[in-house]
């Protein structure tokens, strides 16, 4: 017990008596440990300071923070998270519904359909696109997508208006639908990149087992690739969802910043927690700032739950493959 621990944790210096060396070792060790602890301190500080700065505003709130739809902390001191949280969740879920099937298709294309040389190059391109700053997508959205999208929106509204999601009197470029499309484009590369990685990790032996049974390419993918990759894809999707929820600038540029809860995604309404922070920060009074910080705290909590769930899925998968190996 003692021998392996000492070489691993203490290193040979621990048993050496020269004081200079031990001091250097000790100092470096404390420095490294201190940096690690600082990470914990920062995470705790994020939670603490957000709460501390949010409390005065929450005290001054005339409405119920969780259920109130109106956001007017500067004037009437009445504000609630309901409409904003609804907008955040709805736009992100819609983005996820649009992005995941396409991202899985892209990942399969790169891992199992494209010729190998081409696939490597395309993998790079996807990685580079994942690095495009979100404000650029926002700019593209406001200049190109907002005017362009009313066409497809009109089509959906006219022929699928009986679905509540696509209902509404008139369609608008600045809508939840547009925001979701932008978010989908933004999270697509990251979901595709992670899915591609897990698809490439599928053991050759499983693929060959399927092929040797006389499976077509799709049957092989369904039998060996998708079951193996599913936890990876799920956690990639959750990561994407977290990103979409936290995305600020692109959404702030597009959504009309209304307050209300409506499923009519094609009409001129919509908002999100992050967009509201970006739009409202400039004119905020001290109470207004506190209110925005409180909304940020809610966003932090939601995304943290998403990320922990994603981690759990990955951890469970490790157990499973551990049993298989």
């Amino acid at each position: 017990m003692t021998a392996p621990t000492s070489t691993r944790a203490g290193g040979p210096a621990a048993s050496r008596s020269a004081p200079g060396r031990t001091r250097g070792e000790g100092a470096f060790r404390y420095l490294a440990t201190g940096a690690g602890i600082l990470v914990l301190v920062i995470m705790a500080a994020i939670a603490v300071f957000l709460v501390v700065e949010a409390v005065p505003a929450l005290r001054a709130n005339e409405g119920d923070f969780l259920t109130e739809v109106i956001w007017d902390p500067n004037g009437s001191h009445t504000f609630g998270i309901a409409a904003l949280a609804f907008g955040t969740v709805l736009s992100s879920l819609l983005a996820l519904v649009m992005a995941v099937p396409v991202a899985v298709g892209v990942a399969l294309f790169i891992s199992h359909y494209a010729p190998r040389r081409l696939a490597a190059a395309l993998g790079y391109v996807i990685d580079l696109l994942a690095a495009v700053p979100s404000v650029v997508y926002g700019l593209w959205g406001i200049v190109f997508l907002v005017p362009f999208i009313t066409g497809p929106e009109g089509f959906l509204n006219e022929y699928f208006g009986w679905i509540p999601l696509f209902a509404g009197e008139s369609v608008a470029g600045r809508s939840m639908f547009t925001a979701s499309v932008i978010l989908a484009v933004m999270i697509l590369p990251i979901i595709a990149a992670i899915s591609r990685e897990v698809f490439l990790q599928v053991p050759k032996s499983h693929e060959e087992a399927a092929l040797a049974l006389g499976a077509t390419r799709w049957e092989m993918i369904r039998m060996a690739v998708l079951p193996f990759g599913r936890p990876g894809v799920i956690s990639a999707a959750m990561l994407g969802l977290g990103r979409a929820m936290g995305e600020t600038i692109a959404v702030a540029l597009i959504l009309p910043a209304t307050f209300g809860i409506s499923f009519q995604i094609l009409t001129a309404q919509g908002n999100s927690i992050a967009a509201n922070i970006a739009n409202g920060f400039g004119e905020a009074t001290p109470i207004g700032r506190g209110a925005l910080i409180a909304s940020g705290l809610v966003l932090f909590a939601i995304t943290m739950v998403m990320n922990m769930a994603a981690r759990l899925v990955v951890a469970r998968r490790k157990e499973y493959s551990g049993a298989g190996a």
Binding site: G10, G11, A13, A14, R16, G24, E25, F28, R29, A32, G34, A35, G36, I37, L38, V39, M43, A45, I46, E53, A103, V104, G105, V106, F109, Y113, L122, Y124, L128, L129, A131, V132, P133, S134, V136, L139, W140, V143, V185, P189, A192, W218, E219, G242, G246, T248, I249, L253, A274, I277, A278, F281, I293, G296, L299, F300, T303, M306, N307, M308
Partner: protein, 297 residues
């Protein structure tokens, strides 16, 4: 003809299966096309629209005394601000991130503290950038009463950068073979000198790649700057004093103005930003690529 087919020992694949296979193939190709079109369209529009104002004046002038409808003006103040903010945030997050990774790989392995740090590094990866900005606003500006400044922005950016640096460095340190460490120990080199002289140099190119990708990521962040750096149209060379500008912030600011000249400036700013981010990415990948043949030798 049919008689021959009946005699053959090989059964044909049923049309239904063949059709399914074909349909899926078409869908996969289609998915790729659907994904590439908007992504390439974004890049193309940035380049074609951005070139209109991507000139010397843009790169050397600020927006001071440029009215909302005026043409001209530039992003010098924003470019300067971004470079300073990103440099400062790297100075903060790289040492901390690197040391944390060293702790996780070399010292803390298997301990409870290391496990919880590792867990919270992952949680930190998922912190939305706007929340990082809010935290610095709450902590640095509201609680401590410090002014809006480039440094406050750098603090927010380093919160976003730190977990990426930790993960990249951790991965690279783990790749360093144990033999190498043991060889150094066998020569009587203390552990911390082994880490500094043997382990880190071996993992260096990989860490540099990871750090550059992390820098590229935060260079494009807008929301944290909005809450900590605030806005200015003038050149402010001092990142520790008074509002600054950042390139992403500049694009956001100009894009929200309803005039064509402002939109042109926004595109030019987006082009500059993408050039910076892509150059960082390409450099990172070149370093990684340059390293890989050396490793296999």
């Amino acid at each position: 003809m049919t008689a021959i087919e009946e005699a053959t020992p090989i059964q044909h694949v049923s049309p239904r299966r063949r059709l399914t296979d074909l349909v899926v193939r078409v869908l996969v190709y289609l998915a790729f096309a659907i994904a590439v079109v908007p992504l390439v369209a974004v890049l193309w529009m940035v380049i074609s629209n951005g070139l209109a104002r991507f000139d010397i004046e843009f790169l050397t002038h600020s927006m001071r005394n440029i009215g909302a409808r005026d043409a001209g003006g530039g992003a010098y103040h924003a470019i300067l601000g971004t470079l300073e903010q990103v440099a400062l945030s790297s100075l903060i997050s790289v040492p901390i991130g690197l040391l944390t990774a060293i702790y996780l790989v070399e010292y803390g392995r298997g301990t409870r503290l290391a496990r919880s740090i590792s867990f919270f590094v992952d949680v930190m990866t998922g912190v939305p950038s706007v929340v990082a900005g809010l935290f610095i606003l709450a902590f640095w500006i509201l609680a401590l009463g410090m002014p809006f400044s480039g440094f406050a922005g750098a603090l927010a950016l380093s919160i976003l950068m730190m977990p990426t640096v930790v993960r990249a460095a951790e991965e690279m340190l783990r790749l360093v073979p144990a033999d190498l460490r043991e060889a150094a120990y066998a020569l009587g080199v203390p552990k911390w000198r082994t880490i500094l002289k043997v382990v880190l140099p071996t993992a260096l190119t990989g860490i540099v790649t990871g750090v550059m990708l992390a820098i590229a990521r935060v260079a494009g962040e807008t929301a944290p700057l909005l809450l900590t750096v605030f806005f200015t149209d003038s050149i402010n060379e001092d990142p520790f004093n008074g509002p600054q500008m950042g390139l992403p912030l500049y694009v956001f600011d100009q894009a929200a103005r309803p005039t064509d000249t402002a939109i042109d400036r926004a595109w030019a700013g987006a082009l500059t930003l993408i050039l910076i981010v892509m150059l960082l990415n390409l450099a990172a990948r070149l370093i990684a690529w340059w390293r890989s043949p050396a490793r296999s030798r």
